[in-house]
Each structure stands twice: as C-alpha cells, then as structure tokens.
Amino acid sequence: MKQNSFNLSMMSLDKQTSQFIYTDEELIGLFQSGDENAYIELVNRYKDRLTNFVYQFLGDIEQAQDVVQETMIKLYHKKHYYREIAKFSTWIYTIARNLANTELRNRKRKKTVYLSQMSRKEQDYEITAVQPNVDQNIENEFIRKRIYASIHKLDEHFKTVIILRDLEELSYEDISDIVGVPLGTVKSRINRARLQLQADLQDLI
C-alpha cells in the first residue's frame, strides 16, 4: 500500500468538492486496477448514505460509524470480489447490511448498554433545551421518535425494505438485489410494511 501518497490524496480530496464524473462502477474498476484516489471518491460518495442506513438498524451513531468503517475496510481489502454484473451500490449496501446484522446479533448475545447510547440521549436533551421554539421542537422530536419506534417495531425483513426504499430511496430492483429476494416479494413487503406503519402512526396524521 502506498501509505504516504494515499494519505495525502485523501486529505486533499476531503477539502475540495469532487470533480469526478465517473460512475460508481467505473470507479471500482479504477480502484481494482490500483488507483487509490478512486477508492477515496467511493468512500466520500457512500460514507453518509451508509452511516444513515446502518444507523436505522443499530440506533447508535458511534456503532453505525464503526460498521461503516468496517464496510470501507472490506471494500479496500476485497475489491477484487466485486464483479460488474451487479451495481456497485447494491454490493456495498449488502456488505453494510450484513455487518450491521452481525453487530445486532453480537449485541443480542452480549445485551450490553453502550455509553455512546447514553450520551446520545443527553445530547438530544441539551439541543432541545437551547432552541428558541421549544414547543415546536419538542413536538418534532416526539414525532421523530414515534416514527423511529414504529420502524424498529417492524419485523426484520419489513424494516430492511422500508429503510432501503423510504430512507435510502433505492429502486425496487436494487432492493431485490440487496435483500436477495424476488422483485414481487420486495413489492409485497414494502406494501405490507407501509400499511403497518400507517396503522401504527394513525394518530400522527
């Protein structure tokens, strides 16, 4: 690994807005042939999307960031496993989803309460306290928490498709590839999940 050049280029790409006109598939192709700037561009393109995606599963931002970092490390080491038959986005989402599931399984086994989870609640409280329009913020916060709670109450396969469709805004076809079920099943799961959410959040409307 060319550590020095890699580090420098990463720093510079962090600061400037990206001028790449490549598709994700072209970028991974470049990275496979040794261009590490392409890797950095892929990281910059996906780090926020994946963080949001994984956060919906884990509910803890620190852990979500760790999982996304793991995903990016996997991308770095296993770049040659990617074949251009699939879209890059579905491949990287699949890796992140699998790692998030592993983390959830580990968490269930350990049943631990993380300090970061405790501090998150404190932060939320502090932010609402210093806002000028307190009532509105509290209401928004309440709605937000209700929606998150309803999403988390869904069965695992419903939750995954709802996050991918309505939060990540992926197409039905991409979701089908990521989850590994037929398109018809994806459509039916999305529909059933939305109807469950609608029933659960009736009082918010």
């Binding site: 910059n44 963080t51 960031q65 996304v68 970092q69 490390i73 709605i143 939060l167 459509k187 999305i190």
Partner: protein, 177 residues
C-alpha cells in the same frame, strides 16, 4: 377490483410502479371510494414524514479514522500472519524462500566452477566397472581351476588304468621270431 386487491397495490401506485392498465383500474376504484382515497393520503403522509427524518451523516474525521484503521489493520494482519518475527528484515515465508534460492544458487555455482565434479563421477563409474571386471575375473579363474582339477582327475585315472594293464610284450613271442 376489490378492497384486498386495492390494498395490495397501494405502494406500487404511490411509487408509480403500476402498468397503465392496472393504474386505470386502481383510479377507477378510488373514484367511487372516499375511504380508499383517505387511506392513500394517510400512507402518503406517513411516507412524507419518514422522508423528512434527519439524515445521519458520517463524522467529519471519518476519512482520517478510516486511514488509521487501514494502517492498523494491515500491520495487524502482518503480525497475525507472521507472529511479528522478521529474519534479516524478511518475513518467515520470504526468509525460507530466500534461503532455498541461496542454496540452489550455491549448488549451481559449485557445479559450474568445479569441473572435478565430472571427473569424480567418471572415476566412480570406472571403479564400479573395475570391481565388476575383477569379480568376473575371479569367477572365471575359479571355473578354470575347477576344469584343471577335473582334467587332472581324468588324467590320473587314465594313467592308473594304463598302469593296471599287464605288459605281455616280452612274454608273447611269435613263431617266426
């Protein structure tokens, strides 16, 4: 279209995934059914709220941390594979390979530089041939000895037979003598 068919197609209708014919059927059902319209609006409202949820973003130091982890990971992998031991700056696998190559190189050089190696081989071949020849010779000599002894026995027997024959030459006299 009945209520169950309608409910199955709500999401596809909202996401504009229905084929034209199905869409027409769906809208026809909606026209005569205010409850169905309310249901659609209710689902759309929930979806609007979900889409407006604040999006979590990666930490500002995400790339920096990632770099650190990549460095750590690669050095950790090396240590895990080789136990962190280096021999003259080589990992154990590379050191073994290098040692093997060095030995092979030395053998080749010795064979090229030292021509007596061939002589030794020829000498060895000569000696092995000579010993074989000697063995053959001794076996031939043994056979000759056996033949000689046999001949001697035969000769001695014929002599004894000759001796045993009585000499009547003086005793026999012919008439004319």
């Amino acid at each position: 279209m009945n209520r169950y068919q309608f409910e199955d197609l709500i999401s596809e209708y909202i996401d504009n995934q229905l084929p034209l014919q199905k869409r027409k059927e769906f809208e026809l059902y909606l026209n005569g059914n205010p409850d169905a319209i309310a249901k659609i609006q209710s689902v759309q409202s929930i979806l609007y709220k979900i889409k407006r949820l604040p999006k979590k973003k990666a930490n500002l130091r995400f790339n920096e941390k990632l770099m650190d982890r990549l460095k750590l990971d690669s050095s950790h992998n090396k240590r895990r594979l080789y136990g962190g031991k280096l021999f003259f700056g080589f990992t154990p696998i590379n050191a073994t390979l290098m040692a093997g190559l060095l030995v092979a190189f030395i053998i080749i050089i010795v064979n090229i530089v030292n021509p007596s190696g061939e002589l030794e081989i020829m000498q060895k071949q000569f000696y092995t041939n000579e010993t074989a020849y000697k063995k053959q010779n001794t076996e031939n000599l043994k056979l000759e000895n056996v033949n000689d002894t046999l001949n001697n026995i035969v000769n001695s027997k014929s002599d004894s037979i000759k001796k045993n024959k009585k000499d009547y030459s003086e005793k026999i006299k012919f008439v004319n003598d």
